[in-house]
């Protein structure tokens, strides 16, 4: 669901085919009938953006029929925990949870916590700039729990304010009939899927849910994934072989670039970026962002080791280990606010490395105008992508709206080395780091980005040598000398990985994150990667052939943390540590050995903590986690059916309509997610939705997606002859009914328009896209792959031109997957006529420029 695995992860899909051959049932829920649906036993077309109604109804199906895996739920989830009096659910407040502050458009989360606890940090204080990243501790960090146990629990799961009952009441209205009416999925089809999921769970059987950006790219994206996690927790599928919620990530190292993040809000290992409020007090930072119990209980050791790795000798106990060297964030500096700052002239320099916002980001026209407003831009890529060429080749230039001479941006294009021209690791979608060996030297001026970062750092440090300024200390004290190799003097990736792995004071490599200390005696670039260089061996470069290992293949590459392949795998054993069943044996307690054993994976638990262990008072860190609590990263060690903390838009997934939707919210008075991020400004108009005046100007649902033959915005496939010819032109997929309605001719041209832009595409009339009966109306969908742009062997308009910026405030990801649009036959106008068409659309929709 929310993904198209056969097309986007074909080689991963071999395992789905393998499972199917052994009798597994494959079900694909997707707005379109795709190549994945062709392989599935069952395909259910649903309206884009309504996944929470579907998933909520599955939860309702499970709970009303008491189909949950009871023992798993009682012991391993927080079903038994009683929530605070102050909590109010969406049914009582007609779409809101308690704690909503209208002015900020944010929730104060302290009313959501466990009864009898405190310390849930608010998602955003009023005096902050109303943005999201106030003092909120990220993920599950906050919340103080004495010896890791929720104060008030009801093991009978009857208490009206226990999570189990709150959950049941919250989803009571998510019925099969609601699914048929809101999602457009026939009632029987939904029941068949829900029933198959239930029947395929319990001690003997497990089921997996796979998703991708089909879920993440919504204003309620995070909650869609939460809903799937709730289902998997209720059915006991988490931490067990064949279970889980698998994110199918789209780039070779997108997982790696999240773990060791070129992201604004976290430090390596998901340590939150510090905020101004903790001033220069490391202990206050740990206090604000780290619970006492669970793996995060050792946040002080992790952050101290990071500071030691970065600033070495300059980080000492008396200067809070150079904590003051870390810059502070106090707002949303994510991708789109970043681009809007450029538009406003407050961000003047931009370095783009292996990304293509000029066609890859939403509202691409706005992105290019932002680039045009920069003082200087550096682009590092393998070919002249649209982001490097925006000043001489763009829709605006073609339309005569702007000329190269008017664009002041100074642009540096630096050719990059390919993956065959540098050593390094990619982290795959299952947290597995795999080393790729350099085959040849980078040609010409091509260099790796290790080289670029290192060289830029050296030249900057040279310029600042001797600077008296305090702001230059972090650069001058940085540990920055890496051995250089080969004719192009490329930094040694192994050395960088050794720094990431971390060392003890005596230089020995750290082998487990549990060895990290807060006293400055250990350094570690990323605590979740501690052990990646255990025993001085690059674990990611281990290439023991799969056929010489069992199916877990622990000696190929290295999965963080600690080479654990299935996270929370303690849950694959019952509370007493026995496998739930022989068929699904994976991790179990061996009383004689006094330790946890496994089929070949590393147990995701303290190795010698017995199943019946109960933490003493005052216990902290993982020693505060009960022997029968598998979720060691949570302060309570439990799987969170209900998330008291860590999310800004609610403890329970709740259906809200997308930003742009032709129909009202059938479940609540609140139409769209109250905490979604919108940018009311010129250049980012929104299509009127539901019954607002002008909504009928854009009556159709727009869905965007990818094809197997291309890669994301096309930068890595439109330049490849053998891929370009397989899918040469942008096309839109429409149903025969919509084609008839608008006179679209198969193989002909169509123009698709929103208030942002109008683009043209060939027309593919196909029954794989169906009109849906939704809330009394027939809704037509227009499907658009988004791989094209103006550069490369094959060219075309970019689908991202059409999309507006409406973000999920948890993670600031925009809603790419669903919007509204209009479609008409024929190619789009050229030159000034294009702008005229757009202003006509805006006028009719009653929307400004």
């Amino acid at each position: 669901m929310g993904s198209n695995m056969a097309e986007q992860h074909p080689v991963g899909f071999q395992w789905v085919i393998e499972a199917k051959e052994r009798g597994a049932t494959v079900m694909h829920v997707d707005p379109r009938f795709t190549r994945t649906s062709a392989m599935a036993d069952l395909h259910a077309p649903l309206r884009p953006g309504t996944d929470i109604v579907f998933l909520g109804a599955v939860i309702n199906h499970i709970m009303s029929g008491r189909r949950e895996f009871t023992e798993y739920v009682r012991h391993y989830t927080n079903a038994r925990v009683i929530i605070k009096e102050s909590f109010r659910d969406t049914d009582e407040l007609d779409g809101y949870f308690s704690g909503f502050e209208q002015e900020d458009g944010l929730y104060r989360v302290d009313s959501w916590g466990y009864a009898g606890t405190s310390g849930e940090l608010t998602a955003g204080k009023r005096e902050q700039t109303g943005d999201v990243s106030g003092d909120q501790a990220h993920g599950a960090h906050g919340m103080k729990l004495e010896h890791g146990e929720p104060p008030e629990e009801d093991w009978t799961l009857q208490h009206p304010r226990c999570v189990f009952q709150i959950l049941r009441r919250h989803y009571a209205r998510y019925t099969p009939e609601m699914v048929e009416e809101v999602c457009g999925v026939p009632r029987e089809r939904f029941l068949q899927i829900a029933e198959t999921l239930c029947r395929n769970s319990g001690p003997e059987r497990t089921g997996a849910i796979c998703y991708a950006v089909g879920w993440t790219q919504h204003t309620v994206g995070v909650q869609m994934i939460r809903a799937a996690s709730i289902i998997q927790l209720l059915l006991g599928n988490v931490g067990r072989p064949g279970g889980g919620v698998l994110a199918l990530r789209g780039h070779a190292n997108i997982q790696g670039s999240t773990d060791i993040p070129t992201l604004y809000d976290i430090l390596p290992g998901y340590i939150p970026m510090p905020h101004p409020t903790s001033r220069d007090d490391l202990a206050r930072f740990v206090e604000l962002n780290g619970p006492d119990t669970g793996a995060w209980g050792s946040l002080d050791a992790y952050v101290t080791s990071l500071l030691k790795a970065w600033w070495g000798e300059a980080a000492t106990a008396d200067n809070q280990f150079a904590y003051s060297y870390l810059p502070r964030i106090d707002g949303d500096h994510s991708h789109y606010p970043m681009m809007l700052r450029m538009l406003d002239g407050r961000t003047r320099g931009f370095v783009v490395i292996g990304q293509n916002p000029a066609v890859g980001s939403a509202n691409s026209g706005l992105m290019r105008r932002a680039l045009a407003n920069l003082e200087w831009l550096v682009v590092r890529d393998m070919s002249e992508i649209e982001t490097a060429a925006f000043w001489h080749d763009s829709p605006e230039i073609e339309a005569g709206e702007t000329r190269p001479e008017e664009i002041a941006t100074e642009v540096f294009f630096l050719p990059a080395a390919a993956h065959t021209e540098k050593d390094g690791t990619f982290t795959n979608t299952q947290r597995l780091l795999q080393w790729h060996h350099k085959a040849v030297e980078p040609p010409g001026d091509c260099r790796s980005d290790l080289w670029f970062a290192y060289q830029l750092g050296q030249r900057i440090r040279a310029r600042l040598a001797g600077s008296p300024l305090q702001r230059d200390r972090p650069l001058l004290d940085l540990t920055w000398d890496y051995p250089l190799q080969g004719p192009k003097q490329e930094p040694d990736a192994d050395a960088v990985m050794q720094e990431i792995n971390g060392r003890h004071a005596d230089g020995r490599f750290v082998s487990r994150y549990q060895e990290l200390r807060a006293d400055g005696s250990t350094s570690c670039g990323s605590w979740i990667h501690a052990g990646i260089y255990a025993d001085g061996v690059n674990q990611t470069a281990r290439k023991k052939p799969g056929r010489e290992q069992n199916w877990i293949a622990p000696e190929w590459g290295w999965a963080w943390p600690g080479n654990r392949h299935i996270l929370y795998n303690r849950a694959s054993a019952d509370p007493q540590g026995r496998p739930w069943s022989e068929r699904k044996r994976y991790v179990w307690w061996d009383a004689d050995e006094g330790s946890w054993q496994s089929l070949g994976d590393v147990p995701d638990f303290e190795p010698t903590t017995p199943p019946d262990y109960t933490p003493p008072d005052g216990a902290t860190g993982t020693s505060a986690i009960r022997g029968d609590a598998p979720f060691i990263l949570h302060p309570d060690g439990l799987g969170w059916l209900y998330a008291p903390q860590g999310l800004v838009d609610g403890p329970l997934p709740t259906h809200y309509e997308p930003e742009e939707s032709p129909v009202p919210n059938r479940l609540y008075a609140v139409r769209a997610s109250p905490t979604r991020q919108r940018f009311e400004r010129p250049g980012n108009p929104y299509n009127p939705a539901d019954a607002q005046p002008g909504a009928d100007v854009f009556p159709f649902v727009l869905g965007t997606y990818r094809l197997t033959e291309h890669h994301t915005a096309g930068g890595m496939s439109r330049t490849v002859p053998y891929l370009a010819e397989l899918q040469p032109e942008l096309f839109c997929e429409v149903s025969p009914q919509l084609a008839a309605l608008r006179g679209l001719e198969h193989g002909g041209w169509a123009t698709i328009a929103t208030t942002r832009a109008a683009i043209e595409a060939r027309v593919m009339v196909t029954e794989r896209v169906k009109p849906l009966r939704v809330q009394g109306r027939t809704l037509h969908t227009v499907g658009l792959p988004y791989h094209w742009g103006r550069k490369g062997l094959v060219k075309g308009d970019a689908a991202n031109e059409l999309l507006g910026l409406a973000l999920d405030r948890n993670v600031h990801i925009s809603e790419y997957k669903v919007a509204t649009c209009d479609i008409r036959p024929g190619r789009r106008p050229r030159g000034p006529a294009l702008a005229a068409l757009l202003s006509d659309y805006r006028r009719r929709a009653g929307v400004g420029r």
Binding site: P10, R35, R187, Y722, E725, M764, R768
Partner: protein, 301 residues
């Protein structure tokens, strides 16, 4: 080397050097239409680009096999009546039955929601009786020690005879080059005991490479299983050894009749009628001679 795989020239002309006859079994029921085979083949054999533009033929922009496309994935979108079992029980009631999978006739294999999307990777058939091989005047086409059929690029002079001779339309002349090109079953890789590029790349093992005997075994078991699972039109194509081309080195499991995929339903190697053709030509030549003699010599001065 079982009898049934024998061809005119293999293994006979190779004596000791003959290897087991290798081939492809393409099980289109698990083809996900990803075209990895097309790309892997073109990359390994350095086949030139062959852009055809947007065709509108579902997701197929390669159109057919030819000099610059030695693998071609076909896409067929079909509307089929939803196969709910006769008692027309609504799925909801059926959903509550115990053996859900068995009872509700859960559609199996590519039969979602009344819609079916067939995908199949087409390739040269490496026929047992290969018309292209037999008509080739220069011996550019030859039967290899692996029992496969290969065009030798250092011999072919582009006479083009094999192009209309192939009952499947596989071979074609390459523009600007003049020679004819087709799948070689990675003859160079076989020489080094390596798997052909397409078979190795195929993510779901829809393209299976191996000894033809084993592949035929596997295919029979597979098509039986599929039939029991409800794919009633599942059929093996060119998997026997007594069809019009004596069985193929690359055979298929299809989910519908061959012509739906653009394949001939009853291909026959023209050489089977070589006798009658030569006879007709001989008789006509003789008749021509006789007639001329009669007319020239017989007439009054």
């Amino acid at each position: 080397m079982s009898e049934r795989l024998r061809t005119h020239a293999w293994p006979g002309t190779y004596d000791g050097e003959a290897k087991p006859r290798m081939g492809f079994f393409t099980d289109t029921s698990i083809c996900i239409g990803c075209k990895a085979c097309e790309v892997a083949c073109k990359e390994w054999n350095r086949v030139p680009e062959s852009p055809q533009g947007f065709t509108g033929d579902s997701y197929d922009n390669t159109v057919d096999l030819g000099a610059n496309s030695w693998r071609h994935v076909a896409f067929v979108e079909q509307r089929k009546p939803l196969g709910i079992d006769a008692a027309e029980r609504s799925l909801a009631e059926a959903a509550n039955l115990d053996q859900l999978v068995a009872e509700t006739g859960l559609q199996t294999y590519q039969e979602g929601d009344g819609l079916r999307w067939l995908m199949a990777s087409d390739v040269c058939k490496h026929c047992t009786e290969a018309a292209c091989l037999e008509v080739c005047p220069t011996g550019a086409l030859f039967r290899t020690e692996f029992g496969t059929v290969v065009v030798q690029e250092d011999v072919c002079n582009g006479c083009g005879y094999c192009v209309p001779a192939c009952p499947f339309g596989v071979l074609d002349q390459r523009e600007g080059d003049g020679r004819v090109w087709k799948c070689t079953l990675c003859y160079d890789r076989l020489k080094d005991d390596q798997e052909p590029a397409c078979a190795q790349a195929c993510p779901t093992d829809s393209i299976q490479f191996g000894e033809l005997d084993d592949l035929r075994e596997r295919a029979r078991a597979r098509v039986e299983a599929l039939a029991e699972a409800g794919a009633e039109r599942a059929q093996l194509y060119l998997a026997g050894d007594d069809d019009g081309i004596g069985g193929a080195g690359a055979f298929f499991l299809l989910l519908d009749d061959p012509e739906v995929y653009g394949l001939p339903p009853d291909p026959v190697d023209a050489t089977r009628d070589l006798g009658s053709t030569w006879a007709a030509a001989g008789v006509a030549a003789a008749a021509l001679g006789a007639a001329l003699a009669a007319v020239v010599l017989g007439g009054r001065r």
